[in-house]
Subunit: 206 residues, 2 copies
């Protein structure tokens, strides 16, 4: 039996999917604008212009500039949360897990949303939201410290001040996200691998 | 012969010295305010209030908020320039020089002026000044790369991508300056030593 001809009307599923795709495009355009010009120097008109739509269209996907920033932050932190959570479930030794974790953190923070997290100060977010998002940051930091501690236990990493070393790792990667340029010579993957090699070498057991 | 009694009138030297001391107090108060509240949220009145003087007194030492920020930036960069220049004249091996350099860079960037450099974006400075100050940053970066290159030559450091590793070192220290709190458990010296140990270990020759 031949497939019925495609209907020119969209199904509810199609419409939902389309809305998701459009929302993602709005968020990406907002994050790009925030990264390039800064949050305060970006107007919703700029985001609309980048997508060749009108400002009311943007409003349909994010009710304000602050809401768009919150959504960008949330994307970045959810990704960081997800990739670092994976490192907890792994059965590999801590040294291997630390390498995987640094590469994953690096790729996430060097992404468009990740860069937004490092470049735009969070004081434009509402206090409850800021509190919620900072809690995710702490969870991510705790996971880095956890792998460092596991490494001292299983002997695959030199014992270290886990708090300071976790800050050094996250700090170096966050700083990379500040200067990273898409047109630059190194990809997020290459930069992340370099940093992972460096920190794993720094913690080689004696 | 007994010393003549001290004159109640100040000498021109005394007055010059006093002006320098007061100017330093104004700059420090400004840097503290910028670090704590951000540049845009700081008014000259806040700086004056912290010193228990009036706003016109502040104007006498810095003609505007932008001029005070420029002076804070200059202090930070001159210190970074000076401490990293010292690493060039040293006769020690590159591994030792790298450790000294990282500790000196760390202490400079974790100082009040150094924190100002990392916390306040430079887009509030005039374009020519920004250009001049960015040139100092590049010189400092070149010196870090230079020591890394020297280490690959004299065999005391593992060969590395000097650009990326220099960024990792400066990035980790700059990030530390972002979260550093004077009331925190670790001193600038302790944090800097930790980072120096970490990066020197990371570059241990095979």
């Amino acid at each position: 039996m031949p497939a019925p001809p495609a209907s020119p009307w969209k199904t509810p599923d199609d419409r939902l999917k389309e809305r998701e795709i459009k929302r993602e495009a709005v968020l990406l355009a907002a994050a790009r604008a925030f990264n390039e010009r800064g949050f305060h120097n970006t107007a919703l008109e700029d985001v609309a212009a980048a997508l060749k739509v009108t400002k009311p269209t943007i409003y349909y996907y994010g009710e304000s500039k602050e809401a768009l920033l919150a959504a960008c932050y949330r994307r970045a932190l959810e990704t960081l949360d997800e990739v670092t959570r994976r490192s907890e479930g792994e059965v590999a030794d801590a040294r291997t897990r630390l390498h995987v974790l640094i590469v994953a953190y690096g790729e996430a923070i060097l992404s468009i949303y990740g860069r937004c997290l490092t470049r735009v100060p969070d004081n434009s977010l509402s206090p409850p939201l800021r509190k919620e998002l900072r809690a995710i940051k702490r969870t991510v930091d705790d996971r880095i410290r956890g792998v460092l501690l596991d490494g001292a236990r299983d002997g695959t990493l030199a014992p270290t001040d886990t708090k300071m070393t976790a800050f050094a790792i996250a700090g170096a990667l966050n700083a990379a996200a500040l200067w990273f340029e898409e047109a630059g010579p190194s990809s997020p993957r290459e930069i992340s691998e370099h940093y992972a090699d460096l920190f794993v070498a720094a913690l080689k057991p004696a």
